[in-house]
Symmetry: none
Subunit: 271 residues, 2 copies
Amino acid sequence: MEALSLGQYSFVQNGYSFGFAVMAAATLFFWLMKSEIAPSYRLAITITGLVTAVAAYHYLQIMLSWNAAADVTTGEVLATGKPFNQAYRYVDWLLTVPLLLIELILVMRLSKAETIKKSTVLGGAAALMIVLGYPGEVSDIGGLRFVFWVLSMIPFVFIVYQLVVGLKESISKQPESVQNLVQISIYLVIGSWLFYPIVYLFPLVGLDGGAAITAVEIGYTVADIVAKAVFGVFIFVIAMRKSQAESEEANGATATLADDDAEGEETSKLS
Amino acid sequence: MEALSLGQYSFVQNGYSFGFAVMAAATLFFWLMKSEIAPSYRLAITITGLVTAVAAYHYLQIMLSWNAAADVTTGEVLATGKPFNQAYRYVDWLLTVPLLLIELILVMRLSKAETIKKSTVLGGAAALMIVLGYPGEVSDIGGLRFVFWVLSMIPFVFIVYQLVVGLKESISKQPESVQNLVQISIYLVIGSWLFYPIVYLFPLVGLDGGAAITAVEIGYTVADIVAKAVFGVFIFVIAMRKSQAESEEANGATATLADDDAEGEETSKLS
């Protein structure tokens, strides 16, 4: 903690506050807009908001822990002795990472059997990945850190493989208006996730000064915002477009059935 | 901090409290009234409330930071050593300024392609403007402050130009009952925004005593209230009037089709 300059300390603190504000705002947005989306996608949007809500809580806790760990009244960063609690990030990921994979699966609206299977497999692998990473994170022995990094990378690589290859066929079955968005969402998950295993190795290669701590904390915050809030907005737009497409389809079907445009319009407004 | 008289210190503090109350009240108003507005404008109103919600959170943080920075128990303003966190304003603007431009674009209900294009361009320029302003704000070197002021003014001028010229054609396509309101909303944004770059230059011309700090903080608070809460009310009124106009139109159309006023009214209520 004392390796940090006052500027670095404040920058990280403002990053946490920004993280909290983004996650809380995203949560409110998803839940307020839920009613504007077709019922079939409301579970996905509820969970999308749950992910950012859990993250908002943890960013608040991380910010309070960061504040309590240092005294800056002298114009310098002095450790108070209270340890900065790194574990909040792991507790957060243990909850949010499986859920954010599930929200992606839900918004794709696969068959019931496939949804359950993919949610269990990907969600389980994600939880395993986090659990295997933690012992290495809190260990002071470089060798142990590396061993758990390798163990944690096994489910990581499996998830990435499943997202890239396993979901390929399902993407082609999505309505054309959202195929690109689903593809971008998947890249967003993978892209933001790549940051974590790299940062995990920083202490092994001797990066632990003030600049390294600042880079790690700001990097985690940005990666979390992309993986949860920005990703969530993509899930929301996909759900919105699929709702509209389905309501237009229902509209068309009713109009043909009843041969009456006015009635068709009414149906589409209700749906 | 110690340049302030007790009266000035309290005045600024009460200003923050007023800012928080206005932003929180505006948020509740927008979200409570959301359901009374036609579905097409609910996204705009949700975001309008999001802007004031994020601002309310930051006014609370600014107020707490202001309280922690000074001890007034002796009847004088004594610095406690805890720095007053100016960055909260920037963190707030980084989130809210792009969003408030997007809420204006959304309430105009342009074509989908135009909405996405204008939101990306104006939102992106707004974020760039804030990011470029921050390094100058925290720098003690006058020259750097000026350089970043100039850099930040480039997206600022671009946004103002886009609002005045780029949206001119779109305004003429709005229903007559709201054309004036849209025009006033745009002037409100530009008018309240002009305050920020002027204040930014205060330290360069030697204004940094208690009176200057008071003027800056109260000025920022008033400008924020105008740009977010008052502007939001205009967005709300526009959405309300457009909802009514569209429901009357739908009413008329159905009435002609079905030659039955009662049925038409029912449809308009559903929409």
